[in-house]
Amino acid sequence: MYAKICLIFLFLSRGGAELLFKGVKEHHVTLPTQSEPWDVKQLLVWIQRNLLKERPELFVQGDSVRPGILVLINDADWELMGELDYQLQDQDNIVFISTLHGG
């Protein structure tokens, strides 16, 4: 019954993660409707499929993001929100920041 469309803003701010997305730091994204609510795990799969232009192994590792990439959901640590199981709401703000040397 969760048919509403989610609008999410992805900021890949400083740290180099934007290099994997052709240098575009801010993405305004509308996720397609689906029967279950979107969670972060599905969002990652969606990003990998639709936005990630090159070198997926530098962003995603298995189910989750590569260790060393921080995720902020609405300016709070995603660990406090449930990490991969957090269910996305409309107008959510997700930020990915890389803390690594190599990308």
Partner: protein, 512 residues
């Protein structure tokens, strides 16, 4: 128990996931926004207080920076060094509780030549950095890495420190310092003069210099050696800038996570003997310039969070190791190992960090400029002068045995020397044969003046380098691409040690 494909079937305990409405552990009122270390949740304001306090505590506890001293901040544009810059600004601002009291300057080293970036990219990056620095109001210097080719060999020589003072007599040391050179509060005309000179336009970069640097980088066969070489050149340039512009301390922005990676990769590279200096809070290997690492207590997560939440400007500039694969170099591999381990075991980095805190240098007293028992490139004490039964000797022997026998070049290792003149004073001019006079360039490639066949330069430098620098140089196809100042200093030291050998029987022993 410890097998490769062990399957734990969920027996590992999971760290308890903090719930959404967790309260801050400090004020216990507001909702937490960030998780630090393993399970400490902080709200926004408490986190800010914690962050700022840690910086002050780090500087205050170590008591190494005197009021009125000129300190050079090395800013690379990355989050850690920009955070350090903002903390310094914060600490010097008028409304700070217990203001910091030193005079900062900023330096940015443009490594675009080594990273293979285009001139336009570099110019854009430089312009961005300039805007960032201008907003702080501190004097700044934008230095392209190409300037490393113009350095003088004195950068490789440890300069005597300005005054020997015991750590406990801090107050006395501060008074002495203030009397000798510092002024606090700083006189307005001193600061204005500095600023006028340094608000210069972006420095121009000579094309030939860039090519020389690129040649140097491409002559190294492995990415590991390239990164080591780059960090060494960068360090030399920083020290040179600090010395020429009159700074007595250098602040680097290495954070805890980076230092943990550096510690492990240093061990892998053979720099175990120099760990304390490479990763400690203060590093006095240059004598007059002391390198300080005030950010070493912050994990990269804390820094990145702070920067994001409090809008600390930083600029990402791709470097030599951006977007490289995991296994491209030892440093990258160590980094990926530590970060992966940290994801599952959040106390990894802090454990490594605590270990590094316990390391101390056993500095063998100040060395006179002539006694060259410091490594040529990294200026740490040589760790290769050990007794015959050491592990180091074992590696040398196995190396010799595993190589094919070279055709009788062993006799060429020591170039033919003229017999020792009875007057040691003129020995310097004549020990290396009739080809040089005074500061001549004997040993330069292609010089047919030496009667011995041309000696491979690598052999000449080996005795001057510590173990890990030897490995780095070994990975270079030709030592001749190294900047002139390194080669000149190597030749000078070789000449001196040869001379010392020859007049050794004339030198009076201390105890006799």
């Amino acid at each position: 128990m410890c097998q490769v494909d062990e399957d734990f079937q969920g027996q590992l305990e999971h760290t308890e996931v903090p719930s959404i409405s967790k309260k801050c552990v400090k004020c216990k009122e507001k909702t937490a926004v960030v998780v630090i270390r393993a399970g400490d949740t902080y709200c926004r304001d408490c986190f800010r207080e914690y962050f700022i306090h840690k910086f002050r505590a780090m500087l205050g506890k170590n008591r190494i920076i005197f009021p009125g001293e000129k300190v050079l901040l090395a800013v690379s544009g990355g989050p850690s060094s920009c955070s350090m810059l903002s903390q310094v600004q914060e600490g010097l601002s008028q409304n700070a509780h217990k203001k910091l009291r030193f005079i900062p300057g900023i330096v940015y080293i443009d490594e675009g030549a080594a990273a293979g970036r285009s001139v336009d990219d570099r110019k854009t990056a430089m312009a961005q950095m300039q805007t960032l620095f201008e907003a702080t109001g501190f004097p700044f210097h934008l230095v392209p890495l190409e300037q490393v080719l113009d350095l003088s060999p004195s950068v490789l020589v440890m300069a005597p420190s300005p005054s020997e003072q015991p750590g406990s007599a801090y107050k006395a040391a501060v008074d002495q310092f203030i009397q000798s050179k510092g002024h606090w509060p700083p006189r307005p005309q001193d600061q204005d003069q500095d600023q006028d000179l340094d608000q210069a336009s972006l420095p121009d970069i000579q094309e030939s210099h860039t090519q020389l640097l690129q040649q140097l980088m491409s002559s190294t066969k492995t990415q590991t050696a390239r990164e080591e070489l780059l960090s060494m050149l960068r360090q030399h340039l920083l020290v040179h800038t600090a010395r020429t512009k009159g700074y007595s301390k250098l602040m680097l922005g290495d954070c805890c996570s980076r230092l943990a990676v550096k510690l492990l990769s240093s061990i892998a590279l053979g720099r175990g003997a120099q760990l304390a200096q490479d990763t400690g809070f203060s590093d006095s290997r240059y004598g007059d310039i002391i390198t300080v690492r005030p950010m070493r207590d912050y994990s990269s997560k804390e820094i990145v969070f702070y920067n994001h939440m409090f809008k600390v400007p930083s600029i990402f500039i791709p470097g030599l190791d951006t977007m490289t694969a995991d296994k491209s170099s030892i440093q990258r591999l160590t980094e990926s190992f530590v970060t992966k381990l940290q994801a599952d075991f959040p106390s990894t980095v802090s454990t490594i960090y605590r270990t590094s805190e316990k390391l101390q240098t056993a500095w063998k007293g100040s060395c006179a400029a002539d006694v060259c028992d410091t490594c040529l490139l990294c200026l740490c004490a040589l760790d290769t002068t050990v007794e015959n039964a050491s592990a180091f000797q074992a590696t040398l022997i196995s190396e010799q045995l595993s190589q094919t026998k070279p055709p009788e070049t062993s006799s060429a290792i020591n170039p033919n020397l003229n017999p020792v003149q009875s007057n040691p004073g003129s020995a310097l001019a004549t020990t290396t044969g009739q080809c040089c006079s005074g500061e001549g360039e004997c040993g330069k490639k292609g010089g047919g003046c030496c009667s011995s066949p041309r000696v491979p330069e690598t052999t000449d430098m080996r005795s001057l380098l510590c173990y890990s620098c030897r490995q780095t140089v070994k990975d270079m196809s030709s030592v001749d691409h190294l900047p002139a100042y390194i080669l000149l200093e190597a030749q000078r030291r070789n000449r001196r040690s040869q001379m010392r050998e020859q007049i050794s029987e004339f030198i009076l022993d201390e105890g006799v």
